[in-house]
Symmetry: D2
Subunit: 348 residues, 4 copies
């Protein structure tokens, strides 16, 4: 892995694009070499093209010239932070032109031949790619990561899939950074809760079934578990908290469940991928943890945290989980996907 | 009802005591005539004995002299805002001495002969009182209201009891005012979520079963529904939000459920009790409501608000509910209990 | 004053327009009879034309049809909540057509023949109106109220004008509601301070000099005091807090200053105007008050609160002041202006 | 500097003690070897003796045994995070016993022979130490750092001292972490401003004069500038913001002032002390910066940030400044003091 790999960002000027830029700083494999954005930004320096929202824009990036989002000059590996309103066509155009599009956008996640990847949980879903290329006549490909709330839920449930998950009821307390910029109006959220996030519940329900599902040659057989989500916005900056009640067919003991969480390691850990946390799901024994402001940034924002495992009087067990929504739930997720793909030889 | 009734407050200097004082201002039946607090405060004027946390202390109250919490000078009807650490003995002593103790404290709520009252839902639970007096040899009595999160849940479920509730999973997003003063440290909650509130889940689970249960001569047969609660603190000042998934044996349609909520009226409404909202459970059709900061203070803080009724993929239906935790969930709840008791002739 | 007066609102669908609607509910003199907004809203019911941000829209208003902002059907007295980008021409057109425009917009505030009115402080500035009508050939007129941060400062300084104010340094901690909706992005203000509000410092500096200035026949001779403002946004919903250091030529004692504040009453108090608080500037003796969340809504949001008067080592005295920015600082200010005008016979 | 230096912490279990522990992790010179706390904690492991508030307690520290705060086993160099109620005697006892006490506590700051040190601004104030040792008969010594709000002000003013500062008016917007734990009650600060912090204004006024004063053999001749502070608490977690109006005798141009800030470097920078930021005062040109949540943690929390330099209509110039209150304003300040002392050979 001595050769460094040039990467680009589709939708580099938005909030998610900025998270990609920040997360890629100092990456041991990937060199940020190209920034794509709308026609309005093309030709400007990055510093002029956007308002940076994450502290201070890295100097080297500020001076880069923004390109428009058309295949041509971009490197082969692209991270997509495109807005859903435009991502479908642009991502497809790049994949068609031979690019590897590792996307955070929701547009292609639920397509049958597109991996919806959490490297610790379903790395084998990458096997969809050859079929995707064949079916669509693409030299390139599209690989996606889940919605930022789905990933918290699935990171916590991944270790427990072995027990036969049959029912899940989850309530989210989601951070404002998940809505981008300007995103949630302060008049709506300061000292308040907004008990609704558009399409979020549907995404959590469907994506969870796909992520925890089984690769079946040309598609993913979704997990048959029933999933019900209640999504809420709270006045937290970073870190989505989810409460989870879950039912298992195998009726594990509480010790079984705890052990499964604590001992869980995935391919990214075994291969020591650069962005993989040593321990992807960290169980906290303190009675009142995890908490987003205190825990989300630990492990570079790449771990999920679980706590308060206990019996659920209605289903079998309940617990709380939390992860950093713009890192593990967005930019970091996509970068870890690309690292997994590289370790599989898919970027060669 | 021309004769006005003198009332007192046990534990008048704490936060809940202050809420009682504020709520009783201008009450058409009840005159605040006595304030009881710890020995430390006894003999001082109320203004000197406490630090007021709710805007500005009413002038007439500030000048009242605080008494200690021993039977003697207190009026017959007392609202108890005592801390749980001392409420058991003091409330019993007053009941023994002939006082009607309408308590917000948790100490006696789950005792088999003590009504845990929500006037719209289980007014008949007051029938426990004669047995309580006989069994304990009291001339007085103790009547309680639920925990502040339980009341939000039960107000929303009360109209639906007719459909045979069998399973409830609820997650709370609770306001900081529920923890009193100083209560939650700002370092714990600004920009954060605390996914734990001591004993709160147990209280919600047990109290809900009792409130929705049936009077059986000398005790309440609890609702057999299984109840599972996940309790969280969020950075909201007033108003507890709860998400609810619920299963019914009668399998009502969504229209049935909605109609039950919207048409729900109870004894307090029929008797037009002074603190009863015209409509105890208000259904909001906006996609993102109710919200605590925008809705909790409507209807003088005495209504519960429900929204987002929809099918639950795991149980039958899910929705969000919200009510003002220190009014409908504490002081206002107890005052409405006393109003119901007065309308029953129990204060004569 | 038996005859009720019909009023309309220019810019009824925006946040300030909503504040006017809420504040006018139940007004003893003024009947809300007309709502004007942009062409886009014209012809719709008010309920359909806007998203309400202040709890629940009054039912009677929700059903009113919105008109466009052209003279014709509007009543003679209009409150203007127009956005500054369009207020200049529209307000002039209505004044030209004979309407009395009582405006909260900033556009005409600093014009030499337009009163910038705080009824308790400079009611005589209304004498500019005849000259305004002559010079502009208008049958109608425009009268304005100050910016929401200026009003907090001038309410606190009005009682002290008698001591010869020569220098003022003020720092504001302004609520998010002052920026309208969507206004301040939550990503900018949750757990944060934004030390800049566009044009706010200039407005505070100039408006204060005009408000505290002297009527001189056809213009206001501004107060010669030097004014320096530092404006900041904080995560408060309602209520602007300002710290003030001030120098006086008359060198009053601290007791003089305190007495001036506490004994201050203006024309609105003497005439008992409906929206006038009995005591326009309330001095709080508690060491840590006033506070926006605890005090802004007292006195129906129409009083200013001052506290912590003490010597300033650099100028003469310093103190903190606070008032409700969308009531006393916007809608309530304009309504009180109209009440003053009515009491002067200017609406006859 | 190959030899590593053992250090201890007085008051290790409190919030400031925790900040010291976190800041010292990985320090290139100092090894944390000793933890002192009250008798109540002595003998316990650190992990058992306290509740950690800063993410996760470092494992190596959690296992250390806490000692009581009496001279004996402690290393020579001690950082003091003692509460002011006990710091006076304990710090003196350790200094008497030969320890170098680098204290964050306020108790000895204003004593005439005790340095109140900001290494970039008044490193020569360390010359007070020999006189302190002589006068008190101590082999050890006490050196202090300023209050957390003073340091923001003085870091910003240090570069400007050359222009002859004559008057300063400052208003603070201080973070909740400055009040320790539990510190500020959430009921007081969520959605609110508290316009008072006990003794803070006096500290800012006096400490600023001493820090910017001149060493005169056996004492510091304070700066004769008049200083006036208005101190406020806001709902920010870390980072104190201050607005500053300042008058200079030398009447520099705005360009002079800007250049002085931007070119400012001190002894810590020239000697490249480990905790010294390359640029101690960073000027930000964006119109709305610095902001605490976005900027405080930059430069490891050790820089001060200044912005919005402009003319002040009352004094000469005004600007906003911000720094991390628990790092540059507390633990990091003391550690940098010790680094300066080491570079002077005072720890040999």
């Amino acid at each position: 892995m001595q050769t460094r790999i040039e990467v680009g960002i589709l939708g580099a000027t938005g909030m998610v694009g900025q998270h990609f830029i920040r997360f890629l700083q100092g990456h041991p494999w990937f060199d940020l070499a190209w920034l794509g954005a709308s026609d309005r930004s093309a030709g400007k320096t990055y510093g002029d093209a956007m308002t940076w929202h994450l502290g201070v824009v890295p100097e080297t990036v500020a001076g880069m010239t923004v390109d428009d989002c058309k295949p041509g000059n971009a490197p082969r590996l692209l991270f997509s932070a495109m807005d859903a309103s435009v991502a479908s066509e642009i991502e497809r155009a790049f994949a068609q032109a031979g690019h590897i599009v590792v996307s955070n956008s929701r547009n292609h996640r639920m397509e049958s031949d597109v991996p919806l990847l959490v490297p610790e949980i379903n790395p084998d879903h990458l096997k969809l790619v050859p079929g995707q290329q064949r079916a669509r006549g693409w030299k390139g490909q599209i690989v996606t990561n889940p919605n930022c709330s789905t990933i918290v839920l699935t990171m916590a449930l991944g270790p427990l899939k072995q027990f036969g998950i049959t029912k899940i009821i989850t309530t989210t307390l989601q951070a404002i950074s998940g809505a981008g910029y300007p995103g949630v109006a302060s008049m709506d959220i300061v000292g308040n809760v907004v008990p609704f996030i558009g399409n979020e519940e549907e995404k959590m329900q469907q994506e969870t079934q796909k992520i925890l599902g089984e690769f079946r040659g040309d598609h993913i057989e979704p997990l048959t578990a029933k999933v019900s989500a209640h999504c809420n916005r709270v006045a937290v900056v970073d870190g989505h908290t989810v409460t989870v009640s879950v039912e298992f067919s195998a009726k594990p003991t509480e010790a079984d469940v705890l052990h499964a969480i604590q001992s869980f390691r995935g391919v990214p850990q075994h291969r020591q991928l650069p962005s993989a946390p040593p321990n992807p799901v960290i169980y906290m024994h303190e009675a009142n943890r995890p908490q987003p402001r205190k825990d989300a940034e630990r492990e570079r924002g790449m771990a999920a945290f679980v706590g308060r495992l206990r019996a659920c009087p209605v289903l079998d067990y309940k617990f709380v989980a939390m992860a950093h929504n713009t890192i593990r739930g967005a930019a970091g997720a996509a970068v870890l996907n690309a690292e997994l793909m590289h370790s599989e030889g898919m970027l060669d």
